[in-house]
């Protein structure tokens, strides 16, 4: 099992901030400075799901005006 550092977990939460973001949007934010710790793309969704299971993130489904349905994450 790949281990994710505490700083990566904190960076994911920080990247979400007060917004509601999909996994891909989190990935895009993490790729921009000053974020960008070591979080490979394959580890993104397991990390998000771990944070949700630990109660540090909430997730829900939303459909935007283009009809795209995405699972969005936010801080509790």
């Amino acid at each position: 099992m790949a281990t994710v550092s505490a700083s990566s977990l904190a960076a994911v939460i920080a990247a979400i901030g007060n917004d509601r973001l999909s996994g891909y949007e989190v990935l895009v934010r993490l790729a921009k400075p000053p974020a960008a710790p070591e979080l490979p793309e394959p580890a993104l969704y397991p990390t998000l799901h771990r944070l949700e299971a630990a109660g540090r993130l909430r997730a829900g489904w939303s459909t935007d005006r283009f009809g795209r349905t995405r699972r969005l994450y936010r801080k509790p």
């Binding site: 999909s22 394959p42 580890a43 969704y45 009809g67 699972r71």
Partner: protein
Amino acid sequence: MLEPDTNRSSSPDETPLPAEIDEYLSRLGAGLDLPAHVRAEIASEMAGHFRDSIAAIESEGLDPERAAREAIARLGSPTELAAELTSAHRTTRRLLSGAAGGVFQATLGAAGGMLLGIAIVAATLCEFAVVTGTLLKPPTEFLFAGLPALRAAMAGLPMATALLAWASCLAAFVAARRGVAVSSRISRRTPAAVRRVWAVAGFATLFVAAVFLVPAPQNLVSVLSLVAVPFVFAAAALTDSTPRVSLPRRKVIAAIGVLAILSTSFARNVPAWNGPLPDVANTPQAHAAQLREFDRVAPAWTYVGGHPVLAEGGGLWGSGVITQTINVWTFDPSTVDATAQELSQFKDIRFEAWRAVRFDASPAIAEWIPDPAYSAPYATAPADFHAGQLDAGQGQVEFDVSHVRTTEWIVFVTGTGPDGRRYRLNEPEFNMGGGPLVSSFTGTIWQWLTAST
């Protein structure tokens, strides 16, 4: 195969995914060891990710086919991702929440199942009462509506234990199903993964409770019925969902309602039919045969005025206690003194509780006699007819027989006569309906199994 959540991924504005992505999602789904609803959510989430990722890569100038391959390459092996996602969902916190939620829902299910089970058992008894009270009786007896026929079906406290055990079987079935479903959903373990845990834990708990902890009136039927409860629980936990039977619901409910009303109405007013009444009338031959059996307890003392010195004043029996009242014979007031004189010659007068068995004196006549398998009484108790009780003309004894499997009893009174021999002073006639005193074993199944007969 990973099936996307159709409620979320079938938006008409979203383009179909390339075949490579479908293949990736299939392999991802095959690797996810999670309940179906979680796998569907992951499928929808990953489909959305691929759409966003492919669109972004295409905007960098790659054609759709290469963009799909690049998106797959960035996300890595579906097998490894599946393992990581499975691990992410299976937290200890969810496991404990699943266990607690499952137990809570199983308890609610057990309560509901118990109520339903009792209703079904009660309805079945009503039907039994109607059938025995109507079809098996002469029509003229309808004029003499009397005791509810339910009493016939409920005869004996161990039968009540058995009926409750049958209702408990339904409760166990519902509890196991709800427990497995809810704990699987909350803990994110597949139903297959939690079934065995539920089956083993539930079986062990219910088996220990049924066999060692719960005291109740018991006989062989109640013991077998109670032992069935943990087996029903384990079977319900281990098997797949219940097959659905399609029935016209309104008609079925209406039919059950009408049947219940009719049944209750009949059962309340139709007297019970217990089969032909036992003929316990003593023919001289049968009585003589019975007395010979009584003499095995002790030889009878010479009667006074043609009667035994003592006579039964009535017997009572409960779940595990038998009570026998003995009267000093007062048939003729002039004989009381004579009876007292007779009794005064005896020492060590005592009540003796003997196990009884049915003695078929003739094909039509049934009597009860001391069980020939035993040469001594089960219990004795002093009967002090000399200190006060004689004046009242009565003596009473109470035997606790709740921990003996034997259910039929005869109480004798014996005393040591002037010649130093023990004599029998009464002649049990079996009051209260012409039968022996009846008890029932009360205790746990283990106590029943290890009890003496």
